[in-house]
């Protein structure tokens, strides 16, 4: 069966060039870069070079990059590290209702440990209001954390404005850019970002590695205690193969950023327009323009998300409903609810996230398959009596026979 992967926001395949480079650092150049001997020396320079490659992708300097095990750790590190290091200054944190759970659950934990957190609402497009951020600031506010782009609906937040505001008020600004890095241009210096989280496996790099950018001069404490690695801010033997891999992935992402952004945006818009043209009662979730290049998110009235995914899967199409990271839970997406969708409609959301290997042909196939599936599921839905009647007219004979 032909398999089409439309779930790049969940994870991506490691680039073969990245993977092959890693292989070498696993089996041959396997040393610990902290070791004062040949095997340590063999990898020391690579770690330095990779740090620079990653720094280049976001406009940072190499010594502002701190490796972590992924986006979740970066978020935990940023929030807890800033909170505990600046407790004397204040105990108030501002974030939004649509953050990833790595931010939200960390904030909830901090609330149990002496901090107060404001969770700002968003509008129907998933946008945070800069004015609302301004209103929420108190003299106890030490950190504002707003994601660069949302992982479910792809909305790109007004980071530049919020960061400028934070700078003006002398408050640290953190952004979870796990979904944005490599897909949209980011320059932490120009954008006044103090801390930025990223994750390797979201842009064809290795799994199990991420980074936190920490602007020079930011007061933060370590969150993973132990050895003196990462200039004493993050303990644990360096994951050299992954560090090397992340560097290569960053370099490739930077070199392709512009063309890939354009390509994905046009595929994305073709898919959005195609769905809107072919499927009635399809609601685009997220912002139509301030949107990640590869993100498409729709709710189809009267259709439940999992049955949609399941049927797509049977046709070889991999998609997601809500966040892959929140599966294991059965609650509908907190992001869609925050945007004002009802439980029912939130359950019926479909997220398609495009990436490097997707083509026009994939989009055409998807459009063909999707409209059939939605029609079929709607015909089975009790929420859809009117529509059903319409459809049943054509299927009337079957029903008569069964009844007769």
């Amino acid at each position: 069966m032909r398999h089409i992967y439309f779930d790049h926001a969940s994870t991506t395949a490691t680039d073969p060039v990245v993977a092959n480079a890693m292989l070498d650092y696993m089996t041959t150049k396997f040393g610990n870069p902290s070791s004062p001997h040949y095997f340590g020396r063999q990898v020391r320079k690579e770690v330095v070079d990779a740090r620079q490659q990653l720094a280049d992708l976001i406009g940072a300097t190499a010594d502002e990059i701190f490796y972590t095990s992924g986006g979740s750790e970066s978020d935990n590190f940023a929030l807890k590290g800033i909170a505990f290091a600046n407790q004397k200054k204040g105990n108030h944190i501002i974030t939004t209702q649509i953050e990833h759970h790595a931010v939200l659950h960390t904030c909830q934990w901090l609330e149990k440990h002496g901090f107060t957190v404001t969770y700002l609402p968003v509008d129907e497009f998933g946008l945070v209001s800069v004015e609302a951020v301004k209103q929420a600031i108190t003299d106890k506010t030490i950190l504002i954390s707003v994601m660069f782009a949302n992982n479910e609906v792809g909305t790109i937040e007004p980071i530049v404005e919020i960061a400028a505001l934070a700078k003006e008020k002398g408050i640290y600004f953190h952004t979870d850019a796990v979904q944005a890095v490599s897909h949209v241009p980011i320059d932490v210096k120009a954008m006044n970002i103090d801390l930025l989280s990223l994750s390797g496996h979201k842009f064809y790099g290795p799994k199990g590695i991420g980074a936190l950018y920490i602007r020079r001069g930011v007061k933060i404490e370590t969150v993973q205690h132990g050895g003196a690695q990462e200039r004493k801010l993050r303990a644990g033997t360096e994951n050299v193969p992954a560090i090397v891999g992340l560097g290569i992935a960053a370099q490739k992402a930077l070199s392709e950023l512009k063309t890939e952004k354009n390509r994905l945006e046009s595929l994305r818009d073709k898919l959005i327009q195609g769905i809107e043209a072919k499927i009635p009662d399809a609601k685009l979730n997220g912002h139509r323009l301030q949107r990640l290049p590869g993100n498409v998110n729709f709710s189809f009235r009267f259709v439940e998300g999992e049955s949609l995914l399941l049927t797509l899967d049977m046709k070889g199409i991999a998609a997601s409903s809500g966040s892959a990271c929140t599966s294991g839970s059965l609650d509908p997406s907190h992001v869609l609810l925050a945007m004002g969708l009802t439980h029912e409609v939130a359950h019926g959301s479909l997220r398609l996230t495009l990436g490097r290997e997707n083509t026009e042909a994939d989009i055409d196939y998807m459009l063909e398959v999707l409209s059939e599936i939605v029609a079929r599921l709607r015909s089975m839905s009790p929420l859809n009596e009117e529509h059903t009647t319409g459809i049943m007219a054509s299927e009337g004979k079957t029903y008569q026979k069964a009844n007769g």
Binding site: F302, E304, S307, L310, L330, E344, M380, P382, Y399
Partner: protein, 127 residues
């Protein structure tokens, strides 16, 4: 916790659901819904001489919701009302060869909907 944890039989009932649809002028209609899981099931009965002559369903919900709905209609078609009332959610899950743990409490409500439909019939056809 999705598609991938369903067995072959569940997937078959999901992909080729039996007895899907409505019965016009049904003798009994039952509906159960669980907004948290996002599942709503509606069962339609045609009853003659205490026997379920025909049964149909409409379901908004996940794979398990649709498959259990389909299975329950197969299990009760042709049965007496009393026998149908003995068919439990657990029996439906078992007939499907089991469901993923996470689906057991929340999407496995098709028997309940069927019982509601029988109750509805009994209320309207009190002897």
């Amino acid at each position: 916790m999705g598609a991938s944890d369903y067995n072959e039989k569940v997937l078959d009932h999901f992909a080729n659901p039996r007895n899907v649809g409505e019965i016009l002028n049904a003798d009994g209609i039952g509906e159960v819904g669980n907004p948290v899981c996002g599942d709503i099931m509606k069962i339609y009965l045609k009853v003659e001489n205490n026997i379920i002559e025909d049964v149909k369903f409409k379901t908004f919900g996940c794979g398990a919701a649709i498959a259990t709905s389909s299975m329950v209609t197969e299990l009760v078609k042709g049965k007496t009302l009393e026998a149908a009332l003995d068919v439990t959610n657990a029996a439906v899950a078992e007939a499907l060869g089991g469901l993923p743990a996470v689906k057991m409490h929340c999407s496995n409500l098709a028997a309940d909907a069927m019982h509601e439909a029988i109750k509805d019939y009994m209320e309207h056809h009190k002897k």
